[in-house]
């Protein structure tokens, strides 16, 4: 994975830049000791590491603005960072960059149940947003699987999803307003507690811009009352086609489950060996969860089970109590850990039209043989967001490269059948060089024009999202 060569002129000014930053920040908020900056050398994509020149940990929006003004003045690249859980390398630094971490900005600023909003500082973790309101019966819906650790700032940057977004939508659908610091150090408010911000939908384009447009320090989020209850069913099938057809039939029948999760045989076997959830040994397994009161849950499950029975399932298991529900989820929730027990793995994130599922799984199987690497599939079937897990050995020379080549083929396949490279993890550096598969030069140029508007010198997280060749002229113009 190529990254642009660091600018030695900037690195030469490190001491001066650190001193300038200390003028506007408390001493402890500026980190320059290489032993300490190392903590920021990578995110969840840990195969790639590079310590930043400096790291700063501001506590207020105003401090963020001062940092941006200084970095802008000296043309210092800035890499914003939430909790550093990105699986795409979204927070990977360059050696000449300042990491701007928002972790210390984690307060709740306002909770308003009448208007169903919470306003938080963006360093707050996803789960602790819900934590602040759950005693009163409310929750924040987007639930990426890293929700214990990941920050709202990163959720906004990557437009994060989760298992329950089939019903509740992704971050973008639950974000009503932001306070954002621009590269020039201006503080701007967009949207608020009302629905649909005025004017051009800047909020829509900021969400998912991977920290390239500005630094979001505060967010107004939509909150919902918790459902009365939820219950999953598990169904096993002896072919991927049938399981895929079952998903489609459930959706067509007008039932809208909160989650439809899919696992294939390699993944089922791995999780059984690891977690012993008692899953059937079959080709494909679905977990479908519905919400409501007991009677409402039963009404929906009866319809779902009816449909499932028409597809001759090898197993049909309805949770009778909380313990059984937990067991049904156990295997799915330990799937990544289970695969990790077997070997190192790379987790992909392409989305496909649901109807292409059987074909795509068959092709992934063929590619697995060609590359000589095992792959397990676990994914959000309701919306076609796949998570193929490719197993490789990080200690074996050449294996990572082979794994990346295999991953690239799978993502190209996703695009070929009408899908996309990434459904919820983001492009980062990981899928940057595949963007040409999905977009024409002009399409990419149109996106880069938005960055030009907000960040004319391309200082913010510049080596991400766009293929380096496409962004070269812009990155080096300043």
């Amino acid at each position: 994975m190529d990254m642009p060569a660091p600018n030695s002129e900037i690195i030469a000014k490190k001491a001066m830049i650190a001193a300038r930053l200390r003028q506007v920040l408390p001493d402890r908020a500026v980190i320059e000791d290489p032993a300490e900056t190392r903590a920021y050398e990578c995110d969840g994509l840990s195969a790639y590491r590079c310590p930043p020149m400096l790291a700063v940990l501001p506590s207020t929006t105003e401090e963020v603005a001062e940092i941006m003004k200084i970095c802008n003045e000296y043309n210092v690249p800035v890499v914003p960072r939430g909790s550093g859980t990105s699986l795409a390398g979204g927070a990977l630094p360059t050696a000449d960059s300042v990491i701007l971490g928002v972790a210390r900005m984690n307060g709740v600023l306002e909770t308003d149940y009448d208007n169903r909003i919470i306003r938080v500082q963006t360093g707050r973790t996803n789960l602790s947003v819900t934590g602040a309101i759950e005693e009163d019966g409310f929750f924040y819906a987007p639930d990426p699987s890293s929700q214990l650790a990941c920050a709202i700032a990163g959720n906004i940057a990557m437009n994060s999803g989760g298992a329950h977004c089939l019903k509740y939508g992704v971050t973008s659908n639950n974000l009503l307003g932001v306070r954002m610091v621009t590269v020039a150090g201006e503080i701007m408010d967009i949207g608020g507690a009302h629905l649909d911000a005025a004017g051009l939908d800047l909020l829509g384009v900021i969400c998912g811009s991977e920290g390239q447009i500005g630094v979001v320090t505060e967010a107004t989020l939509r909150i919902l009352h918790k459902p009365e209850g939820a219950r999953p069913v598990l169904m096993g099938f002896d072919s991927n086609e049938v399981a895929g057809q079952c998903v489609s039939d459930i959706i067509k029948a007008g039932v809208l489950p909160v989650a439809i999760e899919f696992m294939d045989r390699p993944c089922i076997r791995a999780t059984e060996a690891f977690a012993g959830a008692g899953y059937p040994d079959c080709e494909a397994l679905l977990i479908v969860e519905v919400e409501g009161s007991d009677a409402e849950i039963q009404e929906q499950l009866d319809k779902i089970l009816d449909i499932a029975r028409r597809h001759n399932p090898v197993e049909l298991r309805e949770a009778q109590d909380a313990d059984q529900a937990a067991r049904i989820w156990l295997g799915r929730k330990s799937a990544f850990g289970a695969m990790g027990q077997i070997n190192d793995y790379m987790c992909l994130d392409g989305t496909i039209p649901v109807s292409e599922l059987p074909y795509v799984l068959r092709r992934i199987g063929e590619l697995s043989k060609e590359f000589g690497l095992d792959v397990g599939n676990v994914f959000h079937a309701g919306d076609g967001n796949m998570h193929p897990l490719i197993l490789y050995n990080a200690n074996k020379p050449g294996d990572l490269e082979k794994c990346e080549a295999f991953g690239a083929e799978i993502l190209k396949l996703c695009v070929e059948v009408g899908g996309c490279l990434t459904g919820e993890h983001g492009v980062g550096i990981e899928k940057r060089d595949l963007m040409n598969v999905q977009f024409s030069e002009a399409d990419l140029d149109a996106q880069m024009k938005i960055k030009d508007v907000f960040d004319p010198k391309w200082l913010l997280n510049a080596a991400k999202v766009f293929p380096l060749a496409n962004s070269q002229a812009r990155r080096t113009a300043a």
């Binding site: 201006e186 002009a442 508007v453």
Partner: protein, 368 residues
Amino acid sequence: MSDYNPTTEAEIADIIAQSQGPLAIQGGGTKGVTCPGKTISTQGLTGIVNYEPGALTMIAKAGTPLAEIEAVLDKEGQRLAFEPVDFGQVLGQQSDPTIGGVFAINNSGSRRFQSGAARDFLLGVRFVDGTGQILKNGGRVMKNVTGYDLVKLLCGSWGTLGVLTEVAFKTLPKSETQRSLVLHGLTSEQAVNAMTRCVGSPFEISGAVHLPFDPSGAKTVIRIEGFEGSVAYRVEQLQKLLSDYTQSQLDDAGSVAFWNDIRTLAPLDGHSQAIWKVSVKPTDGPAIMKSAGFTGGFMDWSGGLIWGTAAASTNPRDMGINGHATLIKGPTETISKFHPEAPLVAAYSNKIRQKFDPSGRLNQGLMA
């Protein structure tokens, strides 16, 4: 007939690239907007390109009539859950809206607070920018974070960034049945209190309006949709929650008819000089209903959306709104259609417009 009547995306690109001067984009022409210059119609770009009911997705050319799309969805038991408002009656337009027009203005109706806005359902766009370049963004799958989300940027840009030529969007199943609870005689404050309690309950409601000027007396109406058993259960729970108030009920047919009237803005007097649409947080709704100078109107989105009729001289923005007010019909020569933005936001928005339409030709003057 418009000045230009292209039937393909390539023709639109040619027209924009080879013509000079301002261009006014027309879909169904139902939004009551007139812009300077030659008119270019999208009505020749019609047809559903792809529809997969099992994936809840449809792709259609921008000029496809909304009515045609809704008929096709209806056959499969599906619908556009964001329930676009039908402006035809109040603006006195006879023609049919197009699907491109619906998304170009991010047209969302009563279900918006529960299901999301039009922009939340739009998955992908093809469009021609102000230089005649054909561009695409997004796709046809529900989860997609590949690159910047220009889909949302285009949605609600009123044609000022480009001419939409094709849209891909998410559909949802129609509900099996619906019912509405009607509360009688509430003040606006009481109504918003009742509506926000329902919205903030676990009993998922999909509509909450307050009609203070109803000829039969003030009416607050709550819609509940879903499977029969679930609807009956939630109606019962909500009745308990609202037991302080005098209630009646609308059955499935009655509820459908009532919400159709809301969708066509039937409670508004189409002869009034001005019609305003104000978006605020729900608890700000009553003050605006009372003090903005409206002569009629109603509150939707549990108080967060106010439709008001007014004299031409009334400007609800004068009272200071924490949100935004759009002039749907009225004296746009003297009062700007869109709510003036904070200078910094306006400056960045203008720069974006210059990138996509450098000579400012598309729907000139709108949103600027």
